[in-house]
Symmetry: C2
């Protein structure tokens, strides 16, 4: 299956500014992209799901998959990749900041044979989807999960929803780094740990702290 | 399977104080408990998983399941319900604030035949588990998912982790109400909607708003 991975290499992950400077945010975003591509590659290799990855980037990026540069906003750029004819092959769209994605979680996205498959993101988003219906279109602004559910209904597409914590966990804010440290299995988690990030549980609630070493 | 549902009816859900007053929080917490019990009942009735529910409450509560009152802290009260002998039956523990729990999600918790099954909560918690090993004990303080993983390893119990967005979504903070409004299917969601809560997406990000009517 064609799997489109949207990526914006310029000034990524601004909501992580309280804990990572601009260069660190760029590095971390790139690690997450690499992890998603690695998970897709393992899905193809180990689980017999044919995966044909395409990074849909707002600027050139050198990575381990073919890249198409499209400077348009996310919704228009993704729409241009979706099937538009009943004979077109299905297309999956998987966000580049799913640092917890594993081959097993991505396999579950590909399993339902529905016209539209949605994996909700926390906070109303849509972190991954599969489109098999020629009239389905995306709208990533606002509560996209609700909108995608409605769009599927309007075009007469049957819908499946994948119940995955891993796919629901996109990484936008400092609190999301807790999930990466606890459940991540890839290079983004390793990079955070090497940069001194660790869980902090002093008051019984879980947060992140950063051990900057120092001397 | 014996399924223990811990519940604290006194002053519940204090972190929802910015949006719900004390009486409302008590009502909402109770609706979530009822929804969890309904989902367990449907699991037993519709999906051939034998469920023997027990509400483990810090004070008497009148609900649609047997109740044991135990005033001790959560960890001790739950530990007292777990299997302590190799011949004991397995015990599941499902938190009372899983407003998104469905029979299908709970069925996935019961499927793995591992000594210990964990369903991570967002932010490092453990929202549901199954214990089949006589030496496994809980520790709900701090990053309990990490601690439970370590305890399972220490006692030589094999471990399975259930990847469920629904089971990861406990409801503690106002932002969590977005998930209830979008994905909830029970009385807690209906109550929120009847109280005027709705999604607010004015700036492209998703939040909750409350329409208090008024005249």
């Amino acid at each position: 299956m064609r799997v489109v991975v949207p990526f914006a290499p310029e000034r990524p992950k601004t909501r992580l500014a309280p804990v990572l400077d601009e260069a660190e945010r760029a590095t971390f975003a790139r690690r997450m992209l690499d992890d998603v591509l690695d998970a897709l590659s393992a899905l193809d290799r180990e689980r017999r799901v044919s995966v044909d990855p395409l990074v849909l980037s707002t600027a050139p990026v050198d990575c381990d998959a073919p890249v198409t540069v499209d400077e348009r906003p996310l919704t228009e750029a993704v729409d241009a990749t979706l099937p538009s004819d009943a004979d077109d092959d299905p297309v999956a769209v998987v966000m580049a900041d799913l640092a917890l994605a594993t081959p097993a979680a991505l396999e579950r996205l590909c399993e339902p044979n529905a016209d539209v498959v949605l994996a909700p993101g926390r906070g109303g988003g849509t972190n991954a989807l599969v489109a098999r219906h020629p009239d389905f279109r995306v709208d990533y602004h606002g509560a996209s999960f609700r909108d995608h559910r409605e769009i599927a209904h309007e075009v007469g597409a049957d819908l499946a929803v994948v119940d995955s914590f891993r796919l629901s966990s996109d990484v936008d804010e400092p609190a999301d780094l807790v999930e990466v440290l606890l459940h991540g299995e890839g290079s983004a988690r390793d990079w955070l740990a090497a940069e001194g990030f660790e869980l902090a549980t002093d008051d019984g609630r879980v947060d992140i702290g950063r051990n900057t070493g120092g001397s």
